[in-house]
């Protein structure tokens, strides 16, 4: 069996002309180096996943962390997957139409953030730039149309690795500034009322002094409205790690399964590396006349 395999490979290798041989050799070396680079990438990321402790959101430190909790939509408004209309917090879908083969018609991936709730706090997770791993992949065919979708549903257990950042909330001065701007914009849109209140000389226009008075009134109004209600609110966010060598993973399958998958990929890549490397060496021996 091995002899016939070797004979088969020798036959193929000798059948290449010089130009073909160079291309096949380059392709084999590319697969060999590519697989070894990817192999080390999976090993490294798998180890980082296993070696990072799970933090609680309320006391997580700023920086690279691992969080575990339930997925919650922002503002209690779940998204809907365009294909099936199912409710979720994240989706990735593909719609294909049957021609000679299945041809892609529409594809989209959600870029909207969702919360992870671990019972101690909420953290908004930005899925853009993240590697999203899900268990729920659904494929179905209706007539000439094929739908494929992956999603993270509300309340699914999720496991995330990424850069944890806490936004301390706007200062009182910032809240005041934004509030005044919004109020003045509202007044500007209702010109008649603006003139009634602030056009003191009755010329049908708001001059600089009158506008300054309107601004003063807006500041007083916003100040009195926010005097008792202002509470600086912390917002936690999970984003792509600043260190590009670290993984950004959002997964609805448990960490152990993710790392097992990574180990499986690593074994596959190791096999590819060994086979392509061995074939490159084999080609060199068979076509020694070229070297």
């Amino acid at each position: 069996m091995i002899d016939s395999l070797i004979d088969f490979l020798i036959g193929i290798t000798l059948s290449f002309d010089d130009a073909e041989f160079v291309w096949v050799m380059l392709a084999t070396l590319l697969v060999c180096f590519g697989s070894v680079i990817a192999l080390f990438g999976f090993i490294r990321h798998g180890r980082i996943m296993q070696d990072t402790p799970t933090s609680k959101i309320r006391s997580a430190s700023q920086g690279f962390v691992q969080l575990e909790g339930r997925a919650k939509s922002l503002d209690d408004k779940p998204l809907r997957v365009p294909g099936s209309g199912r409710e979720c917090v994240w989706f990735d879908y593909l719609i294909e139409k049957k021609g000679n083969d299945w041809e892609e018609v529409e594809r989209d991936t959600s870029i909207y953030s969702f919360y992870v709730d671990d019972g101690t706090g909420l953290c908004a997770v930005d899925p853009e730039l993240g590697r999203v791993i899900t268990r729920k992949k659904k494929v179905w065919v209706v007539g000439d149309w094929r739908y494929t979708e992956r999603l993270i549903a509300e309340n699914d257990r999720v496991y995330c690795l990424g850069q944890f950042e806490t936004d301390q909330g706007g200062s009182k001065a910032e809240v005041l500034k934004v509030g005044v701007r919004v109020l003045l914009n509202q007044w500007k849109h209702n010109r008649r009322e603006l003139l009634q209140r602030f056009d003191q000389n009755g010329d049908g226009d708001i001059d600089m002094d009158e506008w300054n008075q309107a601004r003063e009134t807006a500041i007083r109004q916003v100040e009195s409205a926010t005097a008792n209600d202002y509470v600086p609110t912390q917002h936690h966010n999970l984003v792509a790690p600043f260190n590009k060598g670290y993984p950004y993973v959002i997964s609805s399958i448990p960490q152990d399964e993710v790392t097992s998958r990574y180990q499986l990929y690593a074994f596959g890549l190791l096999g590819l590396f060994v086979v392509s490397g061995a074939y490159a060496v084999f080609m060199t021996i068979v076509r020694r006349d070229l070297f």
């Binding site: 980082i48 070696d51 402790p53 490397g277």
Partner: protein
């Protein structure tokens, strides 16, 4: 260069890169533990600053409870000393004393209505209780980091590098968690 030399060289390179990944992983684990400890230290320093304020407020009201206040001051010094020495076991013992002393103090305060009505006292009590909860949370992360480190350095092939480069087992931070504020029960709902 012969083909054999090339193959051996390539294999050696692959093994070298794998060794570097393992070594860097061990360094990362060690740094995770150091970072987790530093995160606890930040909170300990904040509490170290706030405790004298709490003691000062209480001293004015609790004339007959000076020994309770003294116990807190002593525990504070012990925590600080252990923290300065990076003595994790000593810190655990000192922290247990601190929590027991604080728990006693807050229990005794129930007998002083004037103190309980003091806004400064209430604010400090709330703040210190929050710090204690945060310290307990961060201790969990620290101990998880230590567990990951201690497990990894016993596994093959990491154990070979760990022994060669002197990566040792690290100590867990152990202290008793005591509820400092009485549990509030809402009878209306």
């Amino acid at each position: 260069m012969t083909i054999l030399e090339f193959v051996v060289g390539a294999m050696a390179l692959v093994i070298l890169i794998y060794t570097v990944i393992i070594y860097n992983g061990l360094i990362r684990l060690k740094n995770n533990v150091a970072r987790a400890f530093a995160n606890i230290e930040v909170l300990l320093k904040q509490r170290h600053t706030e405790l004298p304020l709490l003691v000062a407020v209480c001293r004015g009201y609790m004339v007959h409870e000076q020994h309770v206040l003294l116990a807190i001051t002593e525990a504070r010094s012990r925590v600080h000393a252990a923290q300065e020495k990076h003595d994790v076991r000593g810190l655990g013992q000192a922290e247990t004393r601190m929590r027991t002393s604080l728990s006693k103090l807050f229990a005794r305060c129930e007998a002083y209505p004037d103190l309980k009505a003091n806004e400064n006292f209430l604010a400090l009590q709330e703040r210190i209780s929050q710090l204690e909860d945060a310290i307990a949370d961060r201790r969990e992360i620290f101990n998880e980091s230590v567990r990951l480190n201690n497990t990894r350095i016993q596994q093959v092939p990491d154990v070979v590098l760990a022994r060669s480069f002197g990566f040792g087992e690290l100590a867990y931070l152990k202290f008793e968690t005591v509820a400092l504020l009485p549990v509030k029960i809402n009878l209306k709902s």
